[in-house]
């Protein structure tokens, strides 16, 4: 089944046995939560509550509590939306695409990456909802049969495509993630002694008994879902990019957007996975599962996607000049030299220059630097979306309407709040869910082989 070259370092270090894996993953769920966990979940929870408060204030008062104006109709709302969707890219890419490519190293990271995806997409989905002036009629974006006569949604609108793309992506990701969880829930169920917990995990595991037939079906479903999810990885962000690409606004109206957005999404998604896993690895002592090798692989993905993004930025600039269209060229000149030049250069520094540091093996295998750079990348990716959205529309065709955008405390509050909600969910996940795909991990553990290597011959 699993062939392993003798010269390759094993994917799981530390001479683990099958039982060790189960104990390492299920142990924290069975035991009491640490003080650190309680502290973290309190902080994250408070921030989340603050965010919820801001959302309630927004919905009660009106979109005017944000800093938007007649010229800039989208700013932090859609920036945050695209940013979170982008982050939500890595999970499915890791589990689906890497599964199809038989990249076994994914197994140590796919579970949390997928959880991150689910939570990030949930955060992302919040924004198109609350950015509506009348959220109470948000269901009108669904093509539901209705009593309004022949009223139907507008299939020309990329915003509608978003609705389909995001909801499909979310449901497929959720199902994929959950299917993977079933055998692991069964393991927890089998080990649980507390009756209530046993009952709950029993329900969650759908009566998994570990029969060979179930495992066959499990493998088949995983493969089918991976096949389904892979195009979605590309479609979601392509469609999100259509929101801009199909418009007439210089700086938005760009055919390069789909690949540019997808690679940007993978870029930011991997960075976020790194941010989370580097903490989790330390706190939950998963150094043997999430090894330097994983970090390095992910950093390589970041170099590649970061470079694609960099090329895209340069291409945009080139085309704006080459097109000879005064509005197009002004939009880009304004980006790097106008009132928002700091955002542009922050984006360039964080997204184009910083990932290039990973060419140095010393840097890409250094945990601290990786951690810092992973955060830098996500800051840069937030700025990328801000630059695309705000600096394009704040000065578009008619100079009389040019304006600036200034965020209000509600803009900031909701963004910070979603980070709070995200971390709250992730912490709950880390506490109650198997954070590593333990049953899958066991397939790449070569107990006999390792022993064989260690024994002197």
């Amino acid at each position: 089944m699993h062939k392993e070259a003798a010269i390759r370092t094993p994917l799981i270090l530390g001479d683990k046995t099958y039982h060790d894996i189960t104990a390492d993953v299920v142990g924290p769920i069975e035991g009491k939560a640490s003080k650190t966990w309680y502290l973290l979940v309190t902080i994250a929870g408070l921030i989340a509550l603050w965010g919820v408060g801001c959302v309630v204030y927004l919905i009660a008062t009106g979109i005017g509590v944000w800093g938007l104006n007649k010229t800039v109709g989208w700013a932090w709302d859609i920036t945050n939306f695209v940013w979170w969707v982008g982050i939500g890219h890595a999970g499915t890419l890791i589990s689906a695409v890497l599964l199809l490519f038989r990249q076994k190293w994914r197994m140590a990271i796919n579970r949390s990456a997928e959880a991150m995806t689910i939570f990030a997409v949930m955060m992302a989905a919040l924004f198109p909802g609350i950015h509506m002036g009348r959220i109470w009629v948000a269901y009108w974006v669904l093509p539901l049969p209705n009593t309004f006569g022949s009223l139907w949604v507008n299939f020309n609108s990329p915003l509608l495509w978003d609705v389909f793309a995001i909801s499909t992506y979310f449901s497929v990701s959720l199902v994929f993630w959950y299917i993977g969880l079933i055998p692991d829930f069964a393991t927890i169920r089998d080990r649980m002694t507390a009756p209530a917990a046993k009952k709950i995990y029993g329900i969650l595991s759908f009566g998994w008994s570990g029969k060979a037939k179930q495992w066959t079906r499990f493998e088949e479903v995983s493969l089918v879902l991976a096949g389904l999810a892979t195009p979605l990885v590309f479609s979601v962000h392509s469609i999100v990019s259509f929101d801009f690409a199909t418009s007439v606004i210089p700086g938005w109206h760009t055919t390069i957007f789909p690949p540019y957005f997808v690679s940007g999404a993978v870029f930011s998604g991997f960075a976020m996975v790194l941010t989370l896993l580097l903490i989790m690895r330390k706190v939950m002592k998963f150094e043997n599962y999430i090894t330097i090798k994983h970090i390095e692989y992910m950093n390589i993905v970041i170099i590649v996607t970061g470079s694609i993004v960099g090329v895209a930025y340069i291409t945009e600039l080139f085309i704006s000049w080459y097109s000879g269209v005064e509005y197009e060229s002004y939009a880009f000149i304004n980006r790097f030299s106008g009132p928002y030049l700091w955002a542009y250069w922050a984006m360039m520094t964080c997204n184009v220059i910083s990932p290039q540091l990973f060419w140095f093996k010393k840097i890409r295998t250094n945990l601290t630097l990786t951690f810092i750079l992973s955060i830098v990348v996500n800051i840069g990716m937030w700025f990328e979306r801000f630059v695309i959205i705000v600096t394009s529309i704040h000065r578009d065709y008619v100079p009389s309407s040019w304006s600036m955008f200034y965020p209000t405390w509600v803009d900031v509050g909701i963004f910070v709040g979603t980070i709070g909600i995200f971390f709250t969910l992730f912490l709950l996940f880390a506490r109650f869910f198997p954070v590593l795909a333990l049953n899958e991990l066991k397939t790449i553990l070569k107990v006999s082989g390792e022993k064989y290597k260690k024994e002197d011959h």
Partner: protein, 1059 residues
Amino acid sequence: MANNKQYWVGLEELHDTEEFKQAKENEFVSQPQSVDAFVSATETSEAAPGRRDFLKLLGFGVTAATVAACETPVIKSIPYANKPESITPGVPNYYASTFYDGTDYACVLVKTREGRPIFIKPNEDSGQVLNARINSSVLPLYDSTRLRGPLADGKPASWDEVDSEIENRLSKTDGDIAIITGSVISPSPRAAFEKLAEKYGEEKVRMVSYDALSQSAIRRANERTFGKAVIPDYDFSQAKVIVSIGADFLNDWLISTQNTAQYVSRRKPDGDWMSKHYQFETLMTLTGTNADERATIKPSNEGRLLLALHNKVAEMTGGSKVSVKTDDLPTALIEKAAKDLAANKGKSLVVAGCNDTALQVVVNGINRMLGNYGTTISTNTELFVKNGNDSEMKKLVADMNAGKVGAVLIYGANPAYNYPEADKFKSGLEKTGTAVSFASWNDETASLCGFVCPDNHYLESWNDYYPKTGHYALAQPTISPLYDTRQAQDSVLKWCGADQTYNEFMKEVWRRYSGEMGGDSILFEDFWFNALRRGFVNVDVPGESVFGDFDASAVASAAQSIASRKPAGDGFEAVFYTKVGIGDGAGAVNPWLQELPDPITKITWDNYITMNPADVEQYGFNMHYGQEMPASVAKLSVNGKTIELPVIAQPGQKRGTAGVAVGYGRGAAGEEVGRAAFRTKEYGGHQTDENGNKIPVGVNVFPMVSMEKEGPVFHAAGVTVEDAGRTFAVAGTQTHHTLMGRTSVVRETDLKTYKTSGPEKYNPPHVLPIHEGGTVINKPVQDVDLWNNHPVAGVGHRWGMSIDLSTCTGCSACVTACHSENNVPVVGKDEIRRGRDMHWLRIDRYYSSDMNMEKGSDEGKGVIATYREMEVPQYDNPTTVHMPMMCQHCNHAPCETVCPVAATTHSNEGLNQMTYNRCIGTRYCANNCPYKVRRFNWFNYKAYDKFTEVNPAQDEMARMVLNPDVTVRSRGVMEKCSLCVQRIQGGKLDAKMKGKPVEDGAVKTACAEACPTNAITFGDLNDTDSKVLEGHKDDRAYYALEEIGVKPNISYKVKVRNV
């Protein structure tokens, strides 16, 4: 057999008992107790209800409690049980009336719906046009802060009490009785006041008028040069060359609406000729922005400039010269103007704005040399507006202070606010025994008066006007008084003991004059009815001259006096000017006008000091303002009086000068003058000072106007400007002022190019290089299309608009008309500052810049540096262009494709429609609009506290001004120009009723109707004879941003300058 079968319902029936029989007799066992009996019963046993009653009462009680708990809407309107004659619900009625407030005059048509006046439009038969101040005048009618009844000593009183007390006091007073008014141009009120003189003694009663924005120097100058204190009628439509020295004749000079219509009639490049307009001025005025050639001067140099012009004209026409120093004057332009003037003798016009007799005398001299009297300046038609007499007013104030005046009646004037020597007036008022004000608000003057007898709003009043020879006009009430107010003339008649109503009195006056007005041949009642229906009567003007003989020596002595004046030196000078929206201060109480962006600065809700950008830089003040960029505050001192106001950099203003608008700072001592006059807080409510008084918007600068010997002068020398060391947020709707070389947005050319070359020169078509058949060919953009055409061409109607940038003066009458027609919310200063104005129609104003792309590359400047410099308007004398911008109703509308719920769609008549109740508020459409004309309802403007003080829709009274044909939009939906779809539907229905197709011009949008210059033409593009189609096919027609292929239904016409 079957018949014998018996069915019984119970044993009682079978046995046929007595009880059963009784019960059968009496079907209802016990009479139900009535509620009244139950409630009125005193004994418990008596009222003890039976089971049924108990249940009934319980049921009733529960239902009643439930119903009472629900708030049943209290509907105060009274249904038309019997249809009133002439009112059909849903169908507007129009009444001819007349607006006059001392600053503006026009014949209007008042649109009423179900008895409520809701819109003011021009009375087209009269040929008169409106401005923003006039068409906004319907809103104050419903102002809930207007006085609701008479006041005696500041307390509400009854009319009877007030009447008897005033009559008593007037008859007992020993001193004079003075009637202080603004310029009264109304025969009947004048007659009513004369009646007062009859009653209380001719020698005691005197009528004194003064104008807040005095132009009395023109009368005095004519007195000196022609021996008669008159103002002749000027005709800008006859003048091939117009030279204006500081006269903002499109805004506040004499009858500005008349000037506008006449001026623009000759600003059309397609006419026989186009007038040439020179403007010499200090500030950037509305008139100055429309000038072909413009130069700036300090106000103290206006006299010498006039002399220089006089000399040049004299040189060319053979008149006498006076010696004058001209080294610091724009001599080249003076010479050019003089040359043009001399070449157009009898077809030119020189006007000056200053209220300085000597200067106006020189103007008369120049016009006389040019032979303009009898051609562009009428010799037989006189204007009666601005008939205030400053010296009489001065004398009255002195008499009041001397205690000689026993009573004053103040009508149509607010001297405590706008009389330059208001302090003297106030102290005089204290020494006056009885003071009666007819003001509608308990304003600055009224609050100092013992009695306030509030006059009706003009839409509730009868009145007549005689603004110029041969033109009489009538005003009629269009609604009965909303409050317990009484027309001032009715009050006056009452105090005279007349038992006539003013209406009867007025008819009597007209009967007396009807012969003169051509009413001899018909019955008076018919004449009166026709006059009332038309709103005005024009009669032939007698041929005799209103002037006496010309006295050349007057000009010479005036010239001498100017030349001998001490030069003002290099110090700062100030000009106090009139704003388009606020006027003399009447507009400050009107939220529509406060929210109207100033046509020049585009700033709303504020007063400020304008200075040349170079001066602003030199002082180190903030050059730019914006949402988070407040303006610097400066201290401006004139004659020992100091004000603090924010400073705005105004391109095109003379260096070394400061401009401040009058009309602000209303209600500074806490007087109730209307809610819009006061500053609001960020989250609603008015700002108050430490005494709890509301803080007014801006500062009143009337006290800084210097009262010279002959009258007030609206500029001052010896001004100091200092940094006040703080900043103040100002709110403008446009914070970027140049066009950035975007010729596909605005196109302009000069008359010579236009006349001598084809459209490819001044209006080149946009072409796209297309690969076809292996070669690249240039195709016009309209032939390249990604989309299918909407099937509207040639089918049914296709509404469109044509806007002529040449004739648009930027006056902004369309903006307020749109506001009024379409129930556009007023959002207040804080929201405007945040870039959230709601205007469906805005006027973009661009200044020229010194830099352009070609110049930048010639000078070897980088593209970034070039663009940066293009953002900066030329400091000293930029050219200006005004561009009305509203929804372009694109045939390939970018907004339509992106809406996820199809809330904005294309109609089969070419309109881009907004369906409010389908909108979910994603704002995607607004982002994708290349013209940025979509407006989002950020808050619930009609209920949210923040807007209580500014939005009329939140006021119980002011809400009545809302147009019932237009939805008031709720929070969270997008809105934008609908091309007045309600009017289109109305027009179509009307045509259908008549069984005819919709005639061209039968439907007009509010903006097109309000436009005083007909710059906006609306109509059906499928109507082959329509004016709008002609406009679209014109050589000058272009579509804004045509190259992006959105195919607008609105076209613009290239602006042509006569340079």
